[in-house]
Symmetry: C2
Subunit: 465 residues, 2 copies
């Protein structure tokens, strides 16, 4: 059935020669640890797990696998929500867990060069002493390699951009074992094709990132937070548009629905009424700027009928707010132990956000499912999270996901704003991209003619035409 070849004892021996015997394992325990991410997809076992320590080793593993038609699935932290690191066709799980070095820090250039296995939270802890940080913040301690492969984003993307906007240069191992460099440490570059962004977000299906130079940002001197509650979703989204148009350069602009506001009030002690609420953050170099910004935001929210507006520049209170927001999903999991959750990830042009939310409310009601909505409203990205208690409800939850995706695409949006395609969004790409999917497929075939790189992801079939 599978178009691939098995990992033979001879191949195992060659893998050991490449990465060292201590960096190869066929034990069931190790294979189980690399079989499943945080998605709803069932685990699948690789035949072998390898932990290369250098770019050259990664390239050599790929060349070997390519020669023998063995699939290779890269592994970072296993925090994906769409099945990316699951070894769908067995073969080799290529873990970057032993490549966590900070290779160079260029403070004057606001750049750092790292190996792909370092977690972004660990990186930021390292960078804090220099007053710098890497802004994308997907939540779990994802690796930089995983974030690049997936174009991860997060709460502060509205100001700082997604991972694709915060990387300058990468070293990439190709399927045939070539190592290439893409991008430049120069911020500006118009020299030929933008291969950097072709590999970012390609989910390990075109190559494996072996090293990356990231763009850093000075840690803001001052931050402030705002919580604004509205009688309905419509005026809340009107306020989002007005804040974005105000020139205030908001650093986070999050939406939580009324029931999530209730939950965060109860579980985290946030002072929130049972209403749709916007959570915002602003960064500035001066206290007066913060103060004036808060005044403007207050005016905008009041203009759109906010029933309650709370602003704060107090670090502890702000931290509490964002901790609560970052852990909303886990809070829901604890609050409703009777259900499992399906996290959706559609995004639309901001003007279509109310229509998307209305559709989500309608779908949850029609299918009689529990569900809550939190989203990066400033980006038009919405995570409708659908609860299910049994197989029948799971089918319904998947139906809600599908209908939401189709609605988002119809509204000019996307099936995935930041979680990536993986396995879960494969069925929707043709709907979203049309004939451009044929171009993606021909690029895949050009760079990975044997289809060994993370098969089962992005495309419907394992091997290119």
């Amino acid at each position: 059935m599978t178009p691939f070849s098995p990992v033979t004892p001879a191949v195992l021996q060659q893998l050991e020669e490449i990465v060292g015997a201590g960096n190869v394992s066929v034990t069931e325990a190790d294979r189980r640890l690399h079989a499943q991410d945080m998605s709803r997809f069932a685990p699948r076992l690789a035949e072998v797990v390898v932990w290369p320590e250098t770019a050259v080793q990664i390239a050599a593993v790929l060349a070997l696998a390519n020669e023998h038609h063995i699939p290779v699935t890269p592994w970072g932290a296993g925090s994906s929500l769409e099945g990316h690191p699951i070894p769908w066709f067995g073969g080799i799980s290529l873990s970057t867990e032993r490549m966590t070095a900070v290779l160079a820090l260029h403070t004057d250039d606001f750049q750092v060069t790292v190996q792909p296995g370092i977690g972004y939270k660990d990186l930021n802890a390292h960078l804090a002493r220099y007053g710098l940080f890497f802004p994308p913040d997907p939540g779990a301690n994802a690796t930089i390699g995983g974030m690049l492969a997936n174009n991860a984003a997060g709460i502060r993307t509205v100001k700082y951009g997604a991972t694709k906007d915060n990387v300058l240069r990468m070293e990439v191992a190709l399927a045939d074992g070539r190592l290439i460099h893409v991008g430049s440490r120069s911020i500006k570059q118009s020299a030929g094709y933008d291969l950097l962004h072709l590999f970012v977000g390609s989910e390990g299906t075109l190559g494996v990132v072996t090293e990356a130079t990231l763009k850093l940002t000075p840690i803001p001197e001052l931050m402030s937070a705002v919580m604004a509650s509205f009688p309905a979703i419509g005026p809340a989204i009107d306020a989002v548009v007005a804040v974005r148009g105000s020139g205030l350069d908001v650093a986070a602009l999050e939406f939580v629905d009324a029931q999530t506001a209730v939950l965060l009030a109860r579980e985290n002690g946030l002072d929130l009424p049972a209403q749709p609420t916007l959570l915002m953050e602003f960064h500035a170099a001066h206290a007066e700027t913060i103060h004036l910004g808060l005044e403007t935001v207050h005016e905008i929210c009041a203009e759109f009928g906010a029933t309650r507006i709370h602003t704060t520049a107090d670090p502890t209170e702000r931290q509490r707010l964002w901790n609560a927001r970052h852990h909303t999903y886990e809070t829901w999991v604890r609050a409703r132990p009777d259900v499992q959750w399906l996290v959706t990830d559609v995004a639309v042009p901001i003007s279509a956000y109310p229509q998307l939310i209305a559709r989500a409310e309608g779908l949850l009601a029609a299918h009689d499912l529990a569900g809550f909505m939190i989203g990066h409203a400033g980006d038009g990205n919405m995570h409708v999270t659908v609860g299910f208690r049994n197989e029948e409800e799971e089918v319904q939850a998947n139906e809600v996901n599908k209908e939401l995706v189709l609605k988002a695409i119809a509204l000019g949006g996307t099936c995935t704003g930041e979680h990536g395609v993986g396995v879960g969004k494969v069925p929707y790409l043709r709907q979203e991209h049309g004939a451009a999917m044929d171009v993606m497929r021909s690029l895949k075939h050009t760079l990975d003619p044997n289809g060994i790189l993370n098969p089962g992801k992005v495309f419907e079939t394992a091997v290119s035409p």
Copy 2:
């Protein structure tokens, strides 16, 4: 010699059927008008100029040309500095001059959808009434299609990014006549390969942009400007790094050398001493923010030994400053009617800027050539502009360009920060990209197997392997 076929009477007739007889010309006058850009390269004549009016017409022209192996060179405004729109192998000059429509304005989404032939200055004039603008500003009234093809940038790139950072979605005609859509009107998208950025900057060699949805920015409420002069280049660049690290979010951060400061003082009445000078701009929503920002900048510049610091929030004075900066090249042309100028375009990580400048000074002295330096210091992008008066000096000027490029690449930079490859930077791409050039070439071959799209640009040979 050429691997292409001529435009026969039968092909001409088919072109007339596609775009209409009034949109096809073989007159020498029209061919001369599409033979040369603003670069130093000699004109070359297309066999025919066509002016399609729709995306479908562009696609049909490409399909026809592909079938007959006729080269197609897109034409925007002819403002390129590296020869992009010159029909290097004759064939068809595909002008977008009759595709200048604004197709849709999405004010709530801060987006506009346009045809490729509209000039960015004309677009911004149209957008002003809505309080919005498209930030990249290459100077000449380049078309949006040309800016996308070339990933054009400009003075405000340090804050707003290059063209690639300000486009969300495009319709692209491929060599075989397929029309595809790439990107999304959703700000966030992690759904498959980033084809958008593969086509941006590909200089018409992978496809022709037929429509684009651009990201807009609210016009800032308030702007202020700073001119700071330093006794030497080193401390000026130290100040650049400090300003970038201050969290002030500078909107323009330009460097002019001492002799250009003298020129701008004399010709534009700017109050500048004969010293290396930084020109800066800041945008904000509140007067107090502007005021505080100027105070901080003043402190930073003083700390690094600035001999003169002039700050202003007066719109007229600010406008005068940026007009002077925008027309520096033309001012030099008028001031030195005895010389022609070769504009270079290297960029490096900002920490390497002083080394780059030192190399440029050394090269100009060694070759005994006139030259001046202006640059987007905040981006590490430098335009050393080299004067020559005869063929012998032109050879020397080209040598300076070559040595500068090699130095920039050695410093971790690029042969072109914003002018693109065109014809002029073709010899340096292998040096900059190494084996990644093979990947670019295989992508070119995949998407344009007959090599009809803008041959002679980006790659050394006209047709892919």
